[in-house]
């Protein structure tokens, strides 16, 4: 209805002094580029939290990469005043990450809310990731407010998509709100609707404090800033708090709310959302999902839903210039402060030198980290093709965990377990056949299919994660002309008939090219990789066989024929200086080669072999593709 309430009204919604009935905690669930940030900006403006002239587009997305890609990596929570029917309310908007890799963070953000705005582009309809997050929200019993955004667009089809949304959340198409984050149309009504339909938080004010951490961010100046939602009791400045998963205690140096800059407060009460600063320097000491309690009067039971982030995808990261190795190590150490899911160990590759095996939540996470390393730390990196984690059970029943294909054990193997995911694909129904064909080729198992509307379907598959990280995104996009969207979440593992394929260059194994693949696909992989390397590696003075092998069995072979001519025919007086300079340049070029056995392999060949198809076709590109549509 209106933004800044009167001074008296404002006092009723002051932090640490607001009754739960006047609080509304909500998040916005939306696909990349469906306009979440623009809508959030408009809300900040309408509630008077940010003046129009101070408005930086997409205020909430802080990191440059986020701004460029139009995606949100780290969430924040903003407190906004809003008056309806003469009563002041404090609205906490909790930002949620929008991508598949961050499902756990999303689930914690949702757990901090009572309501969710389901925001869908009126020209595109719902996407798979949004649908997945919607299901998460429904599981958390959140009140859903379906909203179509971008109704100002000429291509908008509000009737069609209102029906789709109504079908998904139940209710009438007329109940689907229509807004334009760009023009501000319908946004005031949406704020009113949030106040009217999202339930107020409920908690025991007298109980020992329990607050759930839904985000944790490292700040250079302040150390770790922890975002919490208070469930029971209250947190006060200067008190000593305890983390319930680790029993570690910290002094609360500062507590406050974001509006939209941090403002210290006298504390946080039941249902309130805000930040804590304790002076810790590593987000691992303040883990998302953990419960914060009072150290002197601790709660007996933690809030549910906590789990440690588990890396699902691994890749080797190597500096192109070997002398950059210490720089890479320091850079990873710095990024780790702000990323509880990032973990890494040093590794050495015959082909690539010194580097790290890094575990990620998924492909987008990988690409974001890689890009930050290159951009913020000025590093040139080679990343090996991403792989998943395998649990190998040997004949003697000992188990080996494999995060690097080249470490896959030889000898007698009893069974190999690989992670599987539940994948949801949304696409126009004309692509059902193409998607089924793709998923079958990727060892997928169809679980079910539903029509979202007349011409859009939701298909559910169980797929090996290894197939997803290989080239699934690219294939899906190309086979559906970019219209399909994908979401997946890990659901466990399965036993599969997997083998390690090694690539040998003149008899020498090139560790960076080893891959674990399904037995039925080993031959195709071997043929593809040997053919690719044949094209990428320049001819040498001698013949170079390239072989693909399972153990000692050769399954594919190509030969790089020996170069026969490498001489300038004419070298007279005027040619000497020019020719000498050419040789000096070639000598420099040789320095940039890696030598495998006697074979000189240019750095570019490794990069090209490792980054085409499989690697690099990650969610990051998916995000960009989504924007182009």
């Amino acid at each position: 209805m209106s933004p800044i309430p009167s001074a008296a009204a404002a006092a009723r919604i002051a932090p640490a002094a607001t009754t739960p009935e006047l609080l509304r905690n909500f998040c916005i669930i939306a696909h990349i580029d469906h306009g979440k940030s623009t809508l959030a900006d408009r809300m900040l403006q309408l509630t008077g939290v940010v003046e129009a002239r101070a408005m930086r587009a997409q205020y909430l997305d802080r990191m440059d990469i986020e701004r460029e890609r139009g995606i949100t990596i780290k969430s924040q929570a903003v407190r906004m005043p809003w008056e309806v029917d003469g009563t002041p309310y404090a609205l906490n908007m909790i930002d949620t990450p929008g991508h598949v890799d961050f499902t756990y963070e999303v689930s914690r953000s949702l757990a901090a809310c009572e309501g969710a705005v389901l925001l869908v582009d009126a020209a595109q309809g719902i996407e798979a990731q949004t649908l997945a997050n919607l299901y998460l929200a429904l599981e958390n019993d959140l009140q859903i407010i379906p909203v179509l955004n971008k109704i100002d667009l000429p291509a908008a089809q509000p009737e069609k998509y209102a029906e789709e949304l109504a079908g998904l959340v139940g209710g009438d198409p007329e109940d689907v709100m229509r807004v334009s984050g760009k023009t501000g149309e319908g946004v005031e009504a949406l704020l009113d609707r949030i106040v009217r339909t999202v339930p107020a938080p409920v908690g025991d004010a007298a109980a020992p404090a329990r607050a759930m951490i839904f985000d944790s961010v490292y700040d250079t100046y302040r150390g770790v800033v922890t975002y919490v939602r208070v469930v029971d009791g209250h947190l006060d400045p200067r008190e000593r708090i305890a983390m319930m998963s680790t029993r570690a205690t910290h002094e609360l140096l500062e507590i406050g709310v974001i509006s939209p800059e941090p403002v210290p407060t006298k504390g946080l009460g039941v249902g309130e959302v805000g930040y804590l600063i304790t002076g810790v320097k590593d987000v691992r000491q303040s883990k998302v999902g953990d419960t914060v309690t009072n150290s002197a009067k601790p709660a007996s039971e933690a809030l549910g839903g906590y789990s440690d982030p588990k890396p699902m995808v691994f890749s080797g990261l190597y500096p192109i210039d070997g002398t950059d190795y210490p720089v890479l190590r320091d850079a990873l150490d710095k990024l780790k402060l702000n990323d509880a899911a990032l973990n890494y160990e040093p590794e050495t590759s015959v082909a690539l030198g010194f580097g790290f095996r890094v575990g990620f939540l998924g492909l987008l996470h990988l690409e974001i980290i890689r890009e930050r390393l290159e951009r913020e730390f000025d590093l040139d990196l080679i990343s090996t093709a991403p792989n998943v984690v395998y649990d190998v059970v040997l004949e003697d029943r000992t188990e080996v965990r494999v995060t690097n294909p080249s470490e896959f054990p030889g000898g007698k193997i009893r069974e190999v377990h690989e992670p599987v995911v539940k994948a949801t694909i949304l696409a126009p129904s004309e692509f059902i056949g193409a998607i089924m064909e793709l998923c079958q080729g990727k060892r997928g198992d169809l679980q079910g299919m539903d029509y979202l509307s007349e011409d859009r379907v939701e298909m559910r598959y169980v797929l090996p994660l290894a197939e997803i990280v290989y080239d699934f995104f690219d294939q899906l996009k190309s086979r559906t002309r970019g219209y399909a969207s994908l979401d997946y979440e890990p659901i466990g593992d399965q036993v599969a008939d997997l083998v390690k394929v090694d690539i040998l260059l003149q008899g020498e194994q090139v560790d960076a090219f080893s891959a674990i693949v399904h037995k039925d696909k080993a031959y195709a992989y071997g043929v593809m990789m040997t053919a690719k390397l044949k094209d990428l590696i320049p001819r040498q003075q001698f013949e170079v066989p390239i072989q693909a092998a399972i153990g000692s069995r050769i399954i594919a072979r190509e030969t790089i024929r020996a170069i026969r001519k490498d001489v300038l025919a004419k070298c007279y007086g005027g040619d000497i200086t020019r020719k000498r300079k050419l040789l000096e340049k070639q000598k420099e070029g040789k320095k940039r080669m890696k030598t495998i056995g006697r074979v000189d392999v240019p750095q570019e060949a490794f990069i090209a072999a490792l980054t085409s198809e499989g690697a690099g076709s990650s969610g990051g590109r998916d995000a960009k593709d989504a924007k182009k549509k």
Partner: protein, 412 residues
């Protein structure tokens, strides 16, 4: 002459040389290269410094060219004296182009006369001119011999009409045996230049050219793989897809065929692209380039080397003539070759010749690499072991085809 001039230091206005050259020239032969920058037709593959407009104006025109070039000879004489170099007779002269035989015979005679008057020709001096089979006559060849020329190198290129057409060569291949005979009758040694790897040339075409060259009975053949240089008309044709370049394997096969046929006919390789019947038939002038001797290059775009200093003249004949007219050196840039660079040049040039590189003169790392090169079949084991005298790096035929790789190994 290379198309683009290299980057280098700015030479002094008077072309003066640093005092270091005297010591580094000691014991070196001295040659003169004379560039004639004119052609009747510009060939599509040619990236040499040459012009078809014979009236470039002033001292650059064809008629005034001999006089202009002689001005540089006079300047060269001054510079060499000022640098403290002792008088050395000229051991070789090479007149190249362009098409030297586009100049009137009198002008060629005048040029040799100028060199003779300035420095003296050694009694056994080798004096060569390049010539187009189109632009020589029996009489002209006799007059050149009388004036002191000892050798002529004809640009035969191919015996196959469609290959010659692709190369824009206008001469009638049937004329080659005649011009060779005329030159030999005049008392001149004769060499034929051939090009292989022209777009559209088959292995049989190339065999015909080799057989035609050998049928003339010449004692010297140069055979060059066609290199399509950036900026030539042929490079444009290749880029547009109008011409398809043969691959390096085809060129290698043609090189091997040339080596087979020439060797069978009694001509032996003495440099990667050169074959001669006897050591006396080899081009001494060109051997000077590969042995690091001194030479002064006269003419626009010409390169010189004296005592470890390399320099090159301005490219355009008009700029060249203007500089000389103003009493200035025509040098456009130069470099003083330091020890490391000299070592690389020594290896780069020395491996090209059949005489090879004495292993004792190599750096220790290069010496250590020789065994590997022998094992790879690139270096002749007998020569490397010194079975025929001093231990030397002499390339095998495969080594000649991979000479640049050998240089990179030795210079690593």
């Amino acid at each position: 002459m290379s198309p683009a001039l290299p980057d280098g230091d700015v030479p002094p206005e008077d072309g003066g040389l640093p005092p270091s050259v005297a010591a580094r020239s000691a014991g070196r032969a001295f040659g003169v290269y004379l560039h004639v920058p004119f052609c009747a037709v510009r060939c599509g593959y040619c990236d040499f410094n040459t012009y078809t407009a014979t009236e470039l104006g002033g001292g650059a025109s064809l008629t005034a060219y001999a006089a202009t070039a002689l001005e540089e000879v006079a300047l060269a004489d001054r510079v060499l004296r000022d640098a403290g170099l002792p008088d050395r007779p000229v051991s070789t002269v090479f007149v190249g182009g362009g098409t030297p035989t586009l100049l009137p015979v009198d002008d060629l005679v005048r040029l040799i006369g100028g060199v003779q008057d300035t420095w003296r020709l050694a009694p056994d001096a080798e004096v060569t001119t390049e010539a187009n089979p189109d632009s020589v006559t029996p009489d002209g060849l006799r007059r050149l011999a009388a004036a002191g020329f000892t050798r002529v190198s004809f640009g035969m290129q191919s015996a196959v009409p469609h290959v010659l057409a692709t190369l824009d060569r206008t001469h009638d291949p049937r004329r080659v045996p005649d011009v060779v005979r005329w030159a030999r009758d005049a008392g001149l040694r004769v060499s034929l230049d051939l090009i292989y790897g022209t777009p559209g040339e088959s292995l049989d075409d190339w065999r015909r050219s080799l057989e035609a060259a050998l049928a003339t009975g010449v004692d010297h053949v140069s055979a060059y793989a066609l290199v399509v240089e950036a900026g030539t008309r042929m490079a444009v044709q290749v880029r547009r897809g109008e011409l398809t370049l043969p691959d390096e394997d085809d060129q290698a096969a043609k090189y091997e065929l040339a080596d087979d046929l020439l060797t069978a006919a009694g001509l032996h390789w003495y440099e990667v692209s050169n074959w001669a019947r006897t050591p006396a038939d080899a081009s001494r002038h060109n051997l000077g380039y590969w042995r690091g001797d001194d030479w002064w290059g006269i003419g626009p775009g010409a390169h010189s080397h004296v005592g470890g200093v390399r320099w090159w003249n301005v490219k355009h004949p008009r700029a060249y003539a203007d500089r000389l007219a103003a009493g200035r050196s025509p040098a456009a840039g130069r470099e003083v070759v330091d020890e490391t660079t000299a070592e690389l040049e020594h290896v780069m040039l020395g491996v090209r010749i059949a005489q090879g590189l004495p292993i004792g003169e190599l750096a220790p790392t290069a010496r250590a690499a020789v065994a590997g090169l022998v094992a790879d079949g690139l270096v002749d084991p007998r020569a490397a072991l010194g079975l025929d005298g001093t231990r030397r790096v002499v390339l095998t035929r495969r080594g000649r085809l991979l000479a640049d790789a050998v240089v990179r190994t030795l210079a690593a």
